[in-house]
Assembly symmetry: C2
Homo-oligomer: 120 residues x 2
DNA sequence: ATAGTAATAGGAATTATTACTATTTATAAA
DNA sequence: TTTATAAATAGTAATAATTCCTATTACTAT
């Protein structure tokens, strides 16, 4: 992968927020530095960074969100404010359980919990 | 809720498959009965049926899928064939744990597991 | 049966994402 | 340094997924 200042910027934006931003949010933020950056560049680089294991993609309803946290983890999503919080809920045990019960070879486990967060 | 033959048809389509179909799949199937049915009608009724607790919505990457199974459950998704299988993995305990650890009032918990299923 | 009205339908519009192409740029070899 | 070249970019068009808008229709009370 060749260097590009656009990719560096995009990576930096994702890695310095806990907001699980959407492509559009990242696009707006990136434009402040590179005013003619294209939305296609945002999407291309985000999926490239994801493929290289540098960032994670999570799906919030029908929108992709991007997460600097590449360690397998779980999410709490608040129905009131929409905030998404990273948590650790699942253990290695779960993977074994899935294998024993269903002969399913799990490579990723994600627990998504919706409800009301502690700010309300 | 007023009767409509479109909604009856849509409900019936969802309730007679285990394929976790997308809106588009349901649309194509529905057109065989009501040829001028609109995709908007599909979406509107699917979310209405969901709100009334008659069907469930699950999110597979950035696509909504619809499930007749309204009891809280979890999913195995095979990376090879794309098949989604309903399983039961989470327990009431998890909800309590989320409350104790994060003071988060969970109303829905869903464990999504990807990997290779027992057909491969 | 008819009129009133709120729910529903179909189709248009919007939003999110991907694809395409001409141009620019990072990198490596001469 | 210059040159070759493959990868990346901006800009735009296309596609996919979902929501919005206005005419129509099911249902209720007369």
């Amino acid at each position: 992968m060749r260097f590009s200042k656009q990719r560096e910027l995009i990576k930096n934006i994702v890695q310095t927020t806990n907001l699980h931003p959407t492509a559009d949010w990242i696009y707006k933020k990136a434009k402040k530095n590179i005013s003619n950056i294209s939305l296609g560049t945002i999407y291309r680089n985000l999926s490239q960074l994801n493929q290289d294991g540098i960032i994670n993609i999570i799906y919030d309803n029908n929108k992709a969100r991007y997460d600097w946290n590449t360690v397998s983890h779980d999410h709490l999503k608040c129905n009131k404010c929409g905030d998404i919080t990273d948590i650790h809920m699942h253990t290695e045990e779960l993977q074994k359980k899935v294998w024993n019960q269903y002969k399913f070879e799990a490579d990723n486990i994600e627990i998504n919990i919706t409800g009301i967060c502690n700010k309300h």
